[in-house]
Symmetry: C2
Subunit: 341 residues, 2 copies
């Protein structure tokens, strides 16, 4: 399908753009009253993820309301463990919780490789509905968690400040760890390929817990698996967002991906210098800037864009937008990017 | 008082050492059954901090049991807000909680500058007791939180994944922020000077939440205040541990301190290259290594020490030891350092 606004794809693939594309991580979600209205009709977050009509509706909301340059499919990185046979719940105000976690090689052997067309059809259905409804107005981003981050939840069973159970596994049982990471990777490859087939125009890989690994472990247990996923994606560009992994930035710069997402602690000038002209960069405004006055939001956004430059750049926050952010503040950020020249 | 084992002080001040000194962050605490026995006699953590005889007892335990090369006074970084007029509680398994938090300039104005000799006499008493009891066997480390980290708790009111309320304050109310940071800094200077007077042989500043600030904010709202504290400490060496602040490592390397603590994600070779021969480095074994086999603990420790080298180096973990770590695993780490040559 022809894209009327292809700024995101042009920027991601290094083609010249007439202005900088902008979207926000977690743009489909609690910041919008229209999202909360949909969410209140359901028993929980997981039900929303599993109901294609409604997942499609909330995916499109920020395109209509905030006028971002991309939609991102409303879903969760933990649909993968579920599709492999390890279900999760989302506990209100607490986050994900796995009633059962992976402790033994026997459990790893019992997990299946996710078959996207059956196990994850609800995401693919939502993607098709969005594509049909937005009719090429903007590109649609598909996504998945990086294998290490998905692994971390499958071992730990919930969010954690240290993920010490998951990290402990890497030291105690390297063989089990690689076997599980491999199964997650195969499942994720099936999943992202199916997303592209269903219509996703770009795939983003979220390595949310990259930053808690020592460099040697990150380059053994995370990067090679991300590289396999990037290599497997055909026809559309890929973005990797490895939060907190400064220690391995030079290695991330060599991933077979098109765009690298930066968190708000990252040094823009250094990232440009390391990636040269070979990668597009995405990010990285501190989400807390959106609590400031409109004048300050505009000023901080301009200063950021100035550092990135207008080409090979996709404007975004350095992390998901915080739930209590005012939609008007988000609009102010988006306008500041769009009006930059 | 003459120190029989002065390895820590020699290493911190750049003098040659016959072997590498070793201690662990959080060595006095839940890893030791002897600590848990003391703790169970009391109603809570804060009571233990405020009872000098018992705080002294648990401070000395790891010197006797683990044979570390330094004691560190058992206390908490949040005694400072309490001494300024903002009390906290320690909620079991949850962490610190402030019934009241700082929201307005009026509240900042009402806070007092801590007078260590009255508001924090219980810490000073504990230091004197430890010094008398260990009789120069090893040095005693005093400590305080970095002003930014203490500020973060005073605004946020508890631990947080994002500390978005505290970070928001920096964008919304820079003047209030500087005023509060200044008061915390003055209080901390009084406090660390009093610790030295009471007998502390080295002062460590913990900036536990350094890593959540963007570089520009870290260098505006944290580093200058840490520098003031380091400058105010006379007669004993100082160590700064700024967890996660990779983005500002070059600036940290210029602090007027003697030793820089590294977390387990830090690149040792890079840290050595940036600091040259001007600073001692401390750290940085991943605390999760202590869950591995003794063989692996020994191997990982040797590999780490090999990278740091034996001079201008203090062996430690890259974060506090995790509470469920076995004391024998800790001993294995300590022995691996002591036997290195």
């Amino acid at each position: 399908m022809h894209l009327k606004n292809d700024l995101l794809i042009r920027a991601a693939t290094g083609q010249p753009v007439s202005r900088i594309p902008v979207w926000l991580m977690r743009q489909a979600g609690r910041i919008l009253p229209q999202y909360r209205a949909v969410r209140e009709r359901l028993s929980g977050f997981v039900e929303l993820v599993r109901t294609p009509e409604l997942a499609a509706e909330v995916t499109i909301q920020p395109v209509d309301i905030l006028e971002v340059d991309a939609a991102i499919i409303f879903s969760d990185i933990l649909v993968i463990p579920e599709a492999m046979g390890l279900p999760y719940e989302m506990v209100e105000k607490k986050g994900p919780y796995f009633p059962s976690t992976i402790k033994t090689m026997e459990q790893v052997n019992e997990l299946r490789i996710a078959d996207a067309s059956s196990d994850l059809h609800y995401v693919l259905d939502a993607i098709k509905m969005v594509k049909s409804a937005i009719n090429g107005r903007v590109p649609l981003i598909g996504f998945a968690g990086a294998p290490w981050t998905v692994f971390a939840y499958m071992i730990e069973g919930s969010g954690s400040k240290t993920f010490s159970k998951a990290r402990r596994m890497l030291y105690q049982y390297p063989e089990l760890s690689h076997k599980l990471l491999d199964k997650i990777t195969q499942s994720t490859i099936n999943y992202v390929k199916a997303q592209v087939e269903a219509g996703a125009d770009l795939i983003q890989i979220f390595d949310s817990w990259a930053g808690i690994l020592p460099k040697a472990h990150y380059e053994t247990y995370s990067l090679p698996y991300i590289a396999k996923i990037c290599q497997a994606v055909e026809d559309v560009p890929t973005t990797v967002f490895a939060k907190g992994a400064y220690f391995s930035f030079s290695e991330i710069a060599h991933l077979p991906c098109d765009t690298i997402g930066l968190d708000w602690q990252s040094d823009i000038t250094e990232a440009r210098s390391i990636t040269g002209g070979n990668k597009t960069l995405q990010g990285n405004l501190d989400p807390c800037v959106l609590y400031a006055s409109f004048e300050d939001i505009t000023r901080h956004t301009k200063e950021m864009v100035e550092q990135f430059g207008s080409q090979r750049y996709i404007a975004n926050l350095g992390h998901g937008v915080y739930p209590d952010t005012k939609p008007d503040a988000v609009k102010c950020f988006i306008d500041a990017v769009k009006n930059y020249h």
